[in-house]
Subunit: 476 residues, 2 copies
Amino acid sequence: MAKDKKVEQITDMDVDFTQWYTDVCTKAELIDYSSIKGMFIYRPYGYAIWENIQHILDAEFKKLGHENVYLPMLIPESLLQKEKDHVEGFAPECAWVTYGGSDKLEERCCIRPTSETLFCEHYKNIIHSWRDLPKLYNQWCSVLRWEKTSRPFLRHREFLWQEGHTMHATEEEARAETQRMLNVYANFMENTLAMPVIRGRKTDKEKFNGAEETYTVECMMHDHKALQGGTSHYFGDGFARAFDITFTGKDNQLHHPFQTSWGVSTRMIGGIIMTHGDNSGLVLPPKIAPIQVMVVPVAQHKEGVQEAALKLLETLRSAGIRADIDLSDQTMGWKAAQYEMKGVPIRLELGPRDIENGVCVAAKRTGDKVTVPLENVADTVSSILDDVQSELYAKALKNLQENTFDAHSVEEVRDGCAKGGFARMMWCGDEECEVKMKEQAGVTSRCIPFEQHHIGDICPVCGKPAKHMVIWGIAY
Amino acid sequence: MAKDKKVEQITDMDVDFTQWYTDVCTKAELIDYSSIKGMFIYRPYGYAIWENIQHILDAEFKKLGHENVYLPMLIPESLLQKEKDHVEGFAPECAWVTYGGSDKLEERCCIRPTSETLFCEHYKNIIHSWRDLPKLYNQWCSVLRWEKTSRPFLRHREFLWQEGHTMHATEEEARAETQRMLNVYANFMENTLAMPVIRGRKTDKEKFNGAEETYTVECMMHDHKALQGGTSHYFGDGFARAFDITFTGKDNQLHHPFQTSWGVSTRMIGGIIMTHGDNSGLVLPPKIAPIQVMVVPVAQHKEGVQEAALKLLETLRSAGIRADIDLSDQTMGWKAAQYEMKGVPIRLELGPRDIENGVCVAAKRTGDKVTVPLENVADTVSSILDDVQSELYAKALKNLQENTFDAHSVEEVRDGCAKGGFARMMWCGDEECEVKMKEQAGVTSRCIPFEQHHIGDICPVCGKPAKHMVIWGIAY
């Protein structure tokens, strides 16, 4: 009864995917709305997912030699304007501070939409010699982009992210860093978030404002739309020239350093929801779940049940499993629905008969109930968590593979992507044809994937010789 | 030679304490200036100290049941205005956002100077029943206060902090939370930062805008001035009434919840510098030092030295000691000066003769060199780190005790505090006398300490019966 009541509150994803998504975000208590349009509240459960993401990625960054810093949130307008392409891209969506207290500022400042300009200003002060390179910096912060439309996690006016900014003595080293960090993102998304990705390069039209190259990891959601999971940019020495950053090389000559930046944001949480969620709510990959196992005692008023459940909890926790217990007076049905909604990978039930038999029952969020002996319970539960993680990845990979198709004409892309999916099609490399794909097929280029297949020799848009195979799709 | 050259760069603290402080902040590479006055760059070494602070406090908060959240950085003006005392205190130092892109905002927003109003707005949405209480939330973020003057760590326009915001069903519980969190801060500062504190209550004049009571931990710096290390506020149900937050109690009646907030900031790093630093630079308590031990090989070109040094490094790291190694081609003198400047607690030297003798030499940042056998080196080094931690606390405590004096007249306070120190003096409780102390003795009330002594029966300012013993001083 309680379960039915709870599940009814979520819109079925086949009926209205957008509403289903919003329902999961709010009903699983990940996020709340604030009084400013497009600015959201990260609630404890949503923020805990972000903390797990931070924890894992931060350790990875540090292992590779990156150091964390924190730069100001405000950018004077003249500083933002120093790199021409960059300001053109970002100025239209900046929020501007014009008053400090009751004094009008001499120069208005924007709240950082991204921090390349601030890092460049700082790098100019601290980079002088080849001995000062490389600089491998990262920053965890929020950024602000005054978007017209908004959706929880996917498009916020203010969102949390990390932005890496590095400076190198040589182009080769900077290019290698750009690739290295893209791979960090790709591996993290596949291994930890159980989200298969396509690694590739953005077309010039889709690349970051001011970048020479932008690399991306693209994921497919349940509805077969694309989500850009993370990006890594190679800047060459463009910003360094604009900001007059130089260093004395081993050759005793002045050089401009080569630059990269790379970032992922809380958008990934939207990706997790839309990759793994179902009509009962959120489904979290165990490696990122704030609660991996929820212990739910059955008939907990009976003698010995609560004690045994607490002992079980302690055993799991001692083994490093993120476990919790629900001893509330809610019904079993309510609890089952609640932890399904919250995407907890395993609900572990333990009642009087189970105790007698020396077992407990693991209800996997991905389906199935398994009877688990209390002897070595932590090992068994760990291995079930691994199974859930693998199942989720396999299911998501199947979705990606089954809904990616080769296309040989604009119409094929249009019709295929309208039904949902990614199209692989050859492209001549001209922006004109890319614009036509948007107009005629309603898709954008997601990336030029590193893994190229031979699909044909010509660009179906213009008939000229093809240069690359491109992934086309409809994106969030 | 190299060492002398380096040390010369710092102003002697007896010559100019302010300049000494700034020198340490910049030369130890903790902080850098940005192009906006009062907005600073937290450099990797300074940020790493903050990360250690975060790591320890965050675990402490969570152990006590607090959950992290993230709320928007912008506050609509009408929301800020809901609590009268609060807005009066903060509005004059708010930075205002008036444009989003090219559109003028219908209502301007300030960048959060603190988030009570935002938390109240959210709490109104999520608190309905006694089952929803307590709410124990914390947020790690930056806040912005458009101050006229600024100093690294001590007074920034933008600074990093944590702000806890809690809601409780009863006054008793909220008051207990206020005290509990003050004690978390006090214990952290004493045990981890080696900074002895005075715990007490602020006078009405000095309390937080909108609070019923503000509790504080006050520390004494090298120059005998006071630094407020952290505060914890009890709000009663004032904000809850202003924001119309209610819950249905177990009695089935509507009630307003009772509220607290509490915070510490990167200001504490300024406190660490001014409590422990010396004329060679920064001195870091081992428990918070990003690098606890720097291994410096002597004659590292000689056979076996580098290998032995790297092995030593590995041994220390395996034991959980934050150790690093300097294999650069800089001179021993430069390295010694460099790690003194950076406040590394132990410099561990290892040369060919040491290896022969099965020892290394530990140069403590607090003075003394100790020969340490390589057998069980990690245990010995850990114990030396503990010694350094204790020495620093003892020295700081001595400074506090020797420079705190009882006073029986305004003149005594004036003359004593001008020389540097804290005065204990009785007070009638009237704000008028507090104002006179500022005018006539140049001091402010730091707190009404929990540990009260009987110094006299009257308030020396007005001659009326005294209510409390107050700590007076000159504050940062």
